[in-house]
């Protein structure tokens, strides 16, 4: 089974790093994975997307993900048309917001048959990291709703990327978001 994840954020929020950390965690588990950014010339603040593919078998295709299994939204202020585009029917939508999945569905008028999950990653990031950088927290939330890699592998991937105390704090954020994510089947 191959899972295709699309990440949406703004330049500087770390969507690309999130995509990479998830892939790296899968690779440390012996799985196959690809992580790549939407290749653009964008700078800080511009909407960006990144992709992760995870599979038990080698991944050959280098196509961008047009029909993701799950969309992860780091910044709730992004327009929904941007991140819902191509999301598979019955696909998963994970959003960083203070709202519950029901509230989000209503307020945005989302009518697709998606399973929606929400997590207040900004609060977690502010509490633990002291910065509104939510990418690692969102990886923690993701592996809860789609358990394709273990949270320990995510922790390893983070510690390989960020050294010392920054790494430890980010692992803490991952675990907090893992516990805090809300959804009807959780």
């Amino acid at each position: 089974m191959r899972y295709e994840i699309r990440w949406h954020g703004r330049g500087g929020q770390g969507a690309v790093t999130a995509a990479m950390i998830l892939a790296n965690a899968a690779i440390y588990e012996g799985k196959y994975a690809q992580a790549f950014p939407e290749f653009g010339a964008e700078r800080r603040g511009a909407p960006v997307r990144a992709y992760t593919k995870v599979s038990d078998k080698p991944i050959h295709s280098r196509s961008p993900i047009l029909n993701p299994d799950i969309v992860v939204v780091l910044d709730p202020s992004l327009p929904k048309e941007l991140y819902l585009e191509g999301l598979k029917e019955n696909g998963l939508l994970l959003v960083n917001t203070k709202k519950t999945p029901e509230e989000l569905k209503k307020s945005l008028g989302i009518d697709g048959k998606y399973t929606i999950y929400t997590v207040d990653a900004t609060k977690i990031a502010l509490d633990i990291l002291g910065l509104p950088i939510v990418n690692t927290a969102m990886v923690g939330a993701l592996v809860r709703v789609l358990p394709i890699v273990s949270i320990d592998s995510v922790a390893k991937a983070i510690l390989e990327t960020f050294s010392g105390r920054v790494g430890e704090k980010n692992v803490e954020a991952v675990r907090a978001a893992y516990d805090a994510v809300v959804g009807s089947d959780l």
Partner: protein, 408 residues
């Protein structure tokens, strides 16, 4: 020459690396002495990673932060002339700026290695991928390998130094791969825990002719009409030798490390009516498209050109000879030519004198990183089948996906 080699006892670690990082790891494991480079998208992270290795003491090398790519290649080949194992990396405009020195590197027979994260050319400026930059190096007498995975990038850089420094070759080598599509994609790569086996496979030779006060030589001379041609013919012969040596290098690599690639990669070609020919990362997408089409009973296969220069014409012909139609997808344009795909031209010329040959269709696609998905590949194959049924294969390139251009 019979080559027997025992499988090396290598402890591999499986790391998530982009193709750019894979290059940097190979450079480290090959104990390269001098690196001179200038930043350019999407090559930059190669040089950043190598700088990290040097800064941390993991690689004992001199890094020259040159003021241009022209100087990058100049310093690299001069370091090689002074006896060092030398490396540089670039892309796109940077490779164009180096162009003059590309010829000097090969003309002086300096065994440097350069990685190219391929990218489109200005104007208009495009930081995205195609192979226009690389294809402009076609006639510079550089051995050129085009890899399709980050693992192959690592392995190819290792092979490149062995081929380049072979006393019977002594030519520079480019290892190319898709800018962004591969340069910035993380994927699993096996790298050795220690680099001893790598250096055993590609040992350094400090005893070649070099700028040595003990044995002074004059390098970079002037050759009059009665001398010049012979030196150029030496390069022709060295390229021929390089074909054999590249094959051997890959074979030994496979025996030694358990991974090999060949000079071309075939995928489901044996019974294929239609064979798609491509290079670089696109081949992965093509393989998955072939899998999908095969499920629907379409007899389609794929051939990847891994060694671009010298061109492995016999390998290509063997793989393609039984096909009804060969579709070559080029990610570069030779403007003003009816067959504008550089690789298509090469495949066609390989068959030219044969009575029995497949029809060959040239497709241009992916220019400036115009998206190519499995769906695009299926559309190309569907259209090709239609042409085959009509029995009319156009003797000109088709520009796939250009708005305003339609092929009925």
């Amino acid at each position: 020459m019979a080559v027997t080699i025992q499988r090396a006892k290598v402890e591999w670690k499986r790391l998530p690396l982009s193709s750019n990082y894979a290059v940097a790891y190979a450079v480290k494991d090959l104990d390269v002495d001098v690196i001179a480079a200038y930043p350019i998208t999407p090559q930059t992270t190669v040089v950043e990673k190598i700088s990290e290795f040097i800064a941390n003491g993991e690689l004992n090398a001199e890094m020259i932060h040159v003021e241009s790519e022209h100087s990058a290649l100049s310093a690299t080949i001069a370091a090689s002339a002074a006896g060092a194992r030398a490396f540089t990396a670039t892309a796109s405009q940077g490779l164009e700026l180096m162009h003059e020195i590309l010829h000097i590197a090969s003309g002086l027979r300096l065994p440097v290695v350069m990685s190219v994260a391929t990218r489109a050319l200005s104007a208009p400026i495009s930081i995205w991928n195609d192979y226009s930059d690389l294809m402009n190096t076609r006639d510079t007498s550089w051995i050129t390998i085009i890899a399709s995975t980050a693992q192959e990038v690592y392995d190819s850089v290792v092979q490149a130094f062995r081929i380049a420094e072979d006393p019977e070759v002594m030519l520079p080598v480019i290892v190319a791969y898709d800018g962004y599509i591969m340069s910035h994609t993380y994927e699993p790569v096996l790298v050795p825990e220690n680099n001893e086996p790598i250096l055993k496979y590609a040992p350094k030779n400090y005893n070649r002719i070099k700028l040595d006060p003990e044995r002074p030589v004059t390098m970079g001379t002037l050759a009059s009409p009665e001398w010049y041609y012979e030196f150029k013919y030496q390069q022709v012969a060295a390229m021929e030798k390089a074909l054999e040596k590249a094959r051997e290098a890959d074979k030994v690599f496979a025996e030694y490390f358990g991974r090999g690639y060949g000079l071309v990669e075939e995928y489901m070609t044996s019974d294929a009516d239609i064979i798609l020919v491509a290079y670089g990362g696109l081949f992965g997408t093509i393989k998955e498209a072939i899998d999908m089409m095969r499920q629907n009973g379409v007899k389609v296969g794929g051939l990847r050109i891994r060694l671009w220069r010298p061109f492995p014409a016999e390998d290509v012909k063997n793989a393609l000879k039984n096909a009804k139609l060969v579709v070559v997808i080029d990610k570069a344009i030779s403007y003003g030519a009816r067959i504008a795909g550089p690789v298509a031209l090469e495949v066609m010329s390989a068959f030219y004198h044969d009575a029995d040959k497949p029809s060959i269709l040239s497709i241009i696609a992916g220019i400036g990183q115009r998206r190519i998905t499995e769906e695009t590949i299926k559309e190309i194959v569907d259209y090709s089948r239609k042409l085959l049924e009509r029995g009319r294969i156009p003797n000109e390139s088709l520009y796939w996906g250009v708005r305003g251009v339609r092929y009925e």
